[in-house]
């Protein structure tokens, strides 16, 4: 979504234009697909694309308005959307989060969560392993008890739970 972040610290104008372009593209997709489905009056009432067609049209119009306004406002270019430092902070969290959700499918919810919490504490909180291990394992065990035992909501499990016979 963040169209302008390939530059180190993006200006608000660049991001504003980038996001508006993405929304415009999204609106165009909606319009085109609705048109394909039929956006007019059928034999027995409005065709399936009737409502989404106008929704898509409004997306295009409003994003175009945002685009034009950002384009014609050079003062936004001076404004920083996100500083290099802030972006670093966000990526430090976002990248592990993406890794975490993709690990869930292989390791199961509980093991992946333990690793994720431990990483956070170790990397961002600078905690020693003596604190990190009990907290991260404890939280996951607590979640296991709450969801599997109390609410009987099964969450995806991985090799560790299989080995322990908890499936």
């Amino acid at each position: 979504m963040e169209g302008g972040t390939d530059r180190s610290a993006a200006s608000t104008r660049a991001v504003e234009i980038g996001v508006a372009l993405v929304i415009l593209l999204f609106g165009l997709i909606v319009v085109i697909d609705s048109y394909r489905l039929g956006a007019r009056w059928g034999d027995d009432g409005p065709q399936p694309g009737y409502f989404p067609f106008y929704v898509g049209l409004l997306i295009c119009i409003s994003s175009a308005a945002i685009l034009v306004r950002a384009w014609r406002n050079p003062s936004l270019a001076e404004e920083s959307f996100v500083s290099r430092e802030e972006l670093k902070k966000i990526l430090i969290v976002l990248v592990p989060t993406v890794v975490y959700v993709s690990l869930i499918a292989y390791l199961g919810f509980y093991v992946a969560s333990t690793l994720y919490i431990a990483y956070f504490m170790w990397q961002l909180g600078k905690y020693s392993w003596i604190k990190t291990v009990p907290v991260s394992v404890g939280v996951s065990v607590a979640f296991f008890l709450i969801f599997e035992t109390w609410f009987s909501v099964p969450l995806p499990k991985g090799p560790l739970e299989a080995a322990l016979g908890l499936n």
Binding site: E16, V19, F81, E86, V93, I117
Partner: protein, 503 residues
């Protein structure tokens, strides 16, 4: 006096030991949710909603489930005041005005008075709103029984136009955000014709986008990312509160009766309009500053400056449920999630609910009285405990919150795809928030999209494609007319000012 009888029956439902337990559980969970960064009323309820699926299937279970979830909402409203006053961090947008006087009071060592005043006036505001709901909702529902598809669509139109006209921000961004919500709601199987829309051959899109995933991502992950950017440390005033402070503050509060009543009225009225809680809190703060004797001291820490926004915000948050149960139109994002819950449990929110499920409706209304009493008791006695939550280092609480969000997203449909989607919505939420795109209209459109479209289709089917059906009688015509006035409100006001300015 029919309402009183119905309400008494409602109390009979709500006062069962199990429901009372759920009330306290809900309120405590709600306060925790309101205090934690990244979790608010809307996504807190969204995360816990899947856990009520099995509860709702038992007889009388839907009432218990709504009691639990609505009490989470009340708790979150109370919790917002704690962070605003002690930490100067508004947990919700409508708590912003509470920080103006609440935090200075806390810095001067009067945190106890500020908190007591905030909780008591929240309670008062909610109480006024619940009384209004008790007597007004049967009337509105009875009136709405006459509604057909054109009327319902024009009510939806009114809701969405109010967002555009009243939000005060960039109208194009409000429209864009709302229409993205509508477009996402249209993805998947079209229930009328059975056609697949906007799926592009991806099987994971067949079910469409669930609003719960969007809420968890947009509000949960998005907010965590935003908090991170601002830094990780919370510095707060200590929360000492004891019976003496409470009683002293209570002695002081009756002096502000005029402010309380005025703020409650503003809140009740604005709460019915979608997105009304935030403007209501600012409006009543502004009114109180202008009309109060000590108006010039506002901002330096006066109790009255806490009373005004808190009363209004809580009244508005509560009265947001009035259009939800009577018309099926939620007045706030959290009310939208609750409405989504009703749909999932197989209830049709709207006027028929009062006829078909009186137990449910009156049980809910009775639980609003009891839940707010429970909330007041819990917050007054346990503030230090809740404040301690914010002293847990962010590097522990942030990943735990993200894990909770992931679990919440997964449990909606037991699908990993939803968890990936949640992360994407989180990034979108972060970018949108920073660029000033409002998120509430998107969520509301996502929840109401299918119903709005269905009513629109049925309405124009009845009229053979003639759009004048939305002006065909006095009722629908005035609803549509009002919607158009609200839509163009900023322009009309600008015009009015231009005329006045020129003389």
């Amino acid at each position: 006096m029919e309402e009183i009888n119905a309400l008494m029956q409602g109390f009979g439902v709500a006062l069962s030991p199990f429901n009372l337990l759920l009330m306290f559980v809900g309120v405590i969970l709600g306060i925790i949710i309101g205090v934690l960064p990244g979790l608010g009323g809307a996504n807190g309820v969204a995360i816990l909603l899947p856990l009520t699926f099995s509860m709702a299937q038992q007889p009388g279970g839907t009432t218990s489930a709504i009691i639990l979830l609505s009490c989470i909402y009340w708790g979150a409203l109370f919790g917002g005041a704690i962070t605003s006053i002690l930490f100067n961090i508004p947990g919700e947008p409508w708590s912003v005005a509470t920080t103006f006087d609440g935090h200075p009071l806390a810095q001067r060592g009067r945190a106890g008075s500020a908190l007591t005043a905030a909780f008591t006036s929240s309670f008062f505001g909610a109480l006024i709103a619940v009384v209004m709901i008790t007597f007004l909702s049967p009337v509105v529902a009875g009136f709405a029984l006459k509604f057909g598809p054109p009327e319902f669509f024009s009510v939806y139109l009114l809701t969405f136009c109010a967002f555009v006209g009243m939000s005060g921000g960039n109208a194009a961004k409000t429209v864009a955000s709302m229409m993205i919500g509508f477009a996402l709601a249209a993805v998947g199987l079209d229930s009328v014709t059975g056609t697949l829309r906007l799926t592009f051959g991806f099987t994971s899109l067949l079910k469409g986008f669930d609003f719960l995933i969007a809420v968890i991502g947009l509000f949960g992950i998005g907010e965590i990312l935003e908090t991170l950017e601002e830094g990780l440390a919370f510095k707060g005033a200590s929360a000492k509160i004891n019976m003496k402070v409470v009683l002293e503050t209570w002695k002081e509060l009756p002096r502000y009766w005029a402010t309380s009543l005025r703020s409650a009225a503003v809140g009740c009225f604005m709460g019915i309009v979608p997105g009304g809680a935030t403007p209501a809190s600012f409006m009543s703060y502004g009114l109180a500053r202008r009309l109060s004797k000590d108006g010039k001291d506002f901002g330096n820490g006066v109790v009255e400056g806490v009373v005004a926004p808190e009363t209004a915000a809580h009244a508005a948050g509560t009265s947001a449920l009035l259009p939800m149960i009577t018309l099926g139109v939620p007045g706030s994002p959290t009310a939208a999630v609750l409405l989504g819950g009703l749909l999932i449990w197989g209830l049709q929110p709207g006027p028929l609910l009062f006829v078909e499920k009186p137990d449910f409706v009156w049980g809910l209304i009775a639980s609003m009285y009891l839940g707010n009493i429970a909330g007041l008791i819990v917050v007054l006695t346990c503030v230090p405990l809740f404040a301690a939550i914010l002293r847990i280092p962010f590097s522990i609480i942030a990943p735990v919150i993200i894990v909770i969000c992931a679990i919440g997203a997964y449990t909606v449909h037991n699908s990993m795809f939803d968890v990936y989607l949640m992360v994407i919505f989180g990034v979108v939420g972060y970018a949108f928030k920073k660029l000033g795109y409002p998120l509430a209209p998107m969520v509301l459109a996502l929840v109401l999209g299918d119903r709005a479209e269905e009513n629109f289709r049925n309405a124009i089917k009845g009229s053979q494609g003639d759009l004048t059906v939305f002006f065909s009688n006095g009722l629908v015509g005035s609803l549509t007319g009002l919607a158009l006035i609200l839509l163009f409100w900023p322009m009309l006001r600008g015009l009015w000012r231009a005329v006045l300015g020129k003389r």
